[in-house]
């Protein structure tokens, strides 16, 4: 049973223009997104730049104002309620960012950075707080003396871990991770991904994992949604999306990922060109006359794809 539902989430930005600066149009950054989250699962949100994947994450946590739609958390409507600082929702849903450095106050010690959510949500004594911080540092595999240092004294991977420590400080139910490893080098990225999996198993966390990297998402996620221009083009379990991609956009993305098998190069290029040819000729099947993505159609109990009603499913 899911503990949180996102229903028809929309984030629209007005475009102003004309003589009196009136609203002439909207940017449909997020346009009708539905999601459900279960405990202990990882949900991937994939798309290219400008697809609205980050905006979705920010809207869920309350960093973007939701134009319409609702977020139901444990049966309660929490849409646009981020202002109530101490609500359970705010405590239980946390976020980690791509640029962990700029998400930390450079003048604060690690101790105070990690303690921020603790001070907001849990009324702990100084000793208890200190114990909790030590515990958190141990969880993220960092020595205790790290808490007296400042953010700039750590490497990118370490800062990302501190960001995670801050996010898990109040035992959240879900962490929204916005491109958490995109700025990291390959081996550091692997170390952080391993670590995120470890703490997930230990604490039964759910992740909303936002990334442009289909390899990383496949490695991490149980359930994956592909986003394009603010809408889902395809959503399903990992196997559904990767083994049986139905939407042309998903197919394009998948065929474009470089494979570390040099011998498959030529075959993959042929496949890529094949997909591209279909994309050029069968636009109408996947996008309406305004280039907008269709509404999702259910293909199986877990797999949905946005396709024209005239021509459902089928290759």
């Amino acid at each position: 049973m899911s503990f949180m539902q996102i229903k028809d989430l929309c984030v629209h930005y007005p475009i102003r223009g004309g003589f009196f600066n009136r609203v002439v149009d909207h940017v449909y950054a997020v346009d009708g997104v539905n999601m459900e989250f279960e405990k202990g699962k990882t949900y991937g949100l994939v798309g290219e730049s400008g697809s609205g994947k980050s905006t979705t994450g920010k809207a869920i946590i309350g960093l973007e104002k939701i134009t319409s739609g609702s977020i139901i958390y444990e049966g309660e409507n929490v849409t646009n309620q981020r202002r109530e600082r101490t609500s359970a929702y705010n405590r239980d849903i946390q976020m980690i960012f791509q640029d962990s450095h700029s998400s930390m106050n450079p003048r604060k010690r690690i101790k105070d950075i990690i303690a921020e959510p603790i001070r907001n949500f849990l009324k702990l004594s100084d000793q208890e707080e200190n114990r909790r911080i030590n515990e958190l540092l141990a969880i993220v595999g960092m020595p205790e003396d790290a808490k007296y240092k400042y953010p700039h004294e750590f490497s990118g991977g370490q800062k990302q871990r501190i960001g995670i420590a801050r996010a898990v400080a109040c035992n959240p139910k879900m962490i929204i991770a916005d491109e958490p490893v995109s700025a990291l080098d390959l081996s550091v990225q692997a170390q952080v991904l391993n670590f995120m999996k470890d703490i997930q198993q230990e604490y039964g966390l759910s992740y909303l994992f936002i990334s442009h990297d289909l390899g990383v998402v496949k490695h991490m996620c149980d359930h994956i949604s592909i986003m394009y221009k603010g809408r889902f083009v395809e959503t399903g379990r990992r196997e559904d999306v990767y083994k049986n991609p139905q939407h042309i956009y998903t197919q394009r993305l998948l065929s474009a990922i470089p494979n570390i098998e040099p011998s498959t190069r030529i075959a993959r290029k042929a496949e890529r060109q094949g997909v591209e040819a279909i994309y050029q000729t069968e636009q109408h099947k996947y996008y309406d006359e305004n280039g907008k993505v269709y509404a999702l159609k259910q293909l199986s109990s877990t797999h949905s794809v946005a396709m024209s009603t005239q021509d459902k499913g089928g290759n």
């Binding site: 290219e48 730049s49 595999g141 960092m142 020595p143 490497s155 991977g157 370490q158 871990r161 080098d185 390959l186 081996s187 550091v188 990225q189 692997a190 170390q191 991904l193 391993n194 670590f195 999996k197 442009h212 990297d213 289909l214 390899g215 990383v216 496949k218 490695h219 991490m220 990992r238 990767y242 394009r252 993305l253 065929s255 474009a256 990922i257 470089p258 494979n259 570390i260 098998e261 040099p262 011998s263 190069r265 993959r268 290029k269 890529r272």
Partner: protein
């Protein structure tokens, strides 16, 4: 495949940056050669010296705090320490460069056509009409629709993929024998990346030029390179033809890198990776095997005292001997430092 006709030979290249009054070598004794009609990939993580190597080849460093020694042999010239005016007749003419960020690499105030034709002004005797013609031809060649219009546009009016195509057009304007591409697709979305890589391959096949591809992305390497050199801490630690490197990696670092890529079939497993980071410029170990501190469970006598590259298979070179004793077993339990 690659012919063995040599285009560029780098021997014992050192590039040092001055910090206070000491020079620290970001590129430390690198020797490698580039053949005609070949894509040579230089792979490594940030701080390994790969971008410094690229800029050394074009002599783009600021002279008064950089020291380049060793040999970069092109035709009969040693590019290391070549005077500016002589270098200017090489840059853009014999060696073209492609940069990472297609927006910042273009002058925001100059029209696309003008930016491309600039190198033609200095390296050819073309008339103005011939230059315009060549610019349109180039834009066409890199797959830009409607070249006449694009030539009159400014960079901000183009998409990221289009801008990168313009950068490539600039690099190939004078049909250089060598192209140095520094992370050419890192800033792009995957679908655009695939298009740009295909374009690079096509252009290379057409012109038979040699490409040095600097990247951190092993997927990109597997997709386009003919030969690969892996850099760590300013040195090349492994060099091999591309299939050999991916199928038969030897050095612990190369193996760790390959294992840390989330694979399409590695779901839910832990990624095998050697913990730690590339040491920073000031803290580079200057003696012994530079990777030894990352794999402390390997006995000290497994390393060479002065590690050199050994040929383990035709064209496959590995530095140090520690790889023979390496496995991932000991890697567990360490802390990320």
């Amino acid at each position: 495949m690659a012919s063995s006709e040599n285009l560029l030979t780098i021997r014992n290249l050192h590039t040092g940056f001055r910090i206070k009054d000491t020079y620290y070598n970001a590129v430390d004794d690198v020797s490698i050669n580039l053949n005609k009609n070949e894509i040579l990939a230089i792979v490594g993580e940030s701080g390994c010296g790969k971008s410094t190597l690229a800029t050394s080849i074009l002599g783009l460093h600021v002279a008064n705090n950089t020291k380049v020694t060793g040999e970069i042999l092109y035709k009969d010239l040693n590019l290391a320490g070549l005077p500016e005016d002589k270098f200017n007749s090489i840059r853009g003419n014999d060696i073209g460069m492609i940069f990472q960020d297609p927006l910042s690499a273009l002058n925001p105030l100059m029209r696309i056509g003008e930016q491309i034709s600039e190198s033609l002004v200095y390296h050819t005797k073309f008339t103005k009409e011939q230059r315009v013609e060549r610019v349109l031809e180039l834009l066409n060649q890199v797959g830009i629709p409607n070249p006449e219009r694009v030539a009159n546009q400014f960079p901000h009016q183009l998409s990221g993929g289009m801008r990168q195509r313009v950068i490539i057009a600039i690099a190939i304007a004078c049909k250089p024998a060598i192209i140095v591409a520094d992370e050419p697709t890192t800033a792009l979305d995957v679908t655009i990346q695939a298009q740009i890589l295909d374009l690079l391959k096509e252009l290379q096949a057409e012109t038979k030029s040699g490409i040095i591809l600097i990247t951190h992305d092993l997927g990109v390497v597997a997709e386009v390179a003919d030969r690969v050199a892996v850099m760590y801490a300013g040195q090349i630690i492994e060099e091999a033809p591309v299939e050999e490197l991916f199928n038969n990696p030897k050095h612990p670092y190369t193996r760790s890198l390959l294992n840390s890529i989330p694979q399409m079939n590695s779901e839910n497993e832990k990624l095998q990776v050697i913990k730690g980071l590339v040491p920073s410029l000031k803290n580079l170990p200057r003696q012994g095997c530079r990777f030894s501190s990352r794999i402390p469970w390997i006995a000290a006598d497994a390393h060479e005292e002065n590690p050199v590259l050994h040929e383990v298979a035709p064209g496959h070179l590995v530095r140090c001997t520690c790889w023979k004793h390496f496995d991932f077993e000991g890697a567990e339990g360490g802390q990320l430092r």
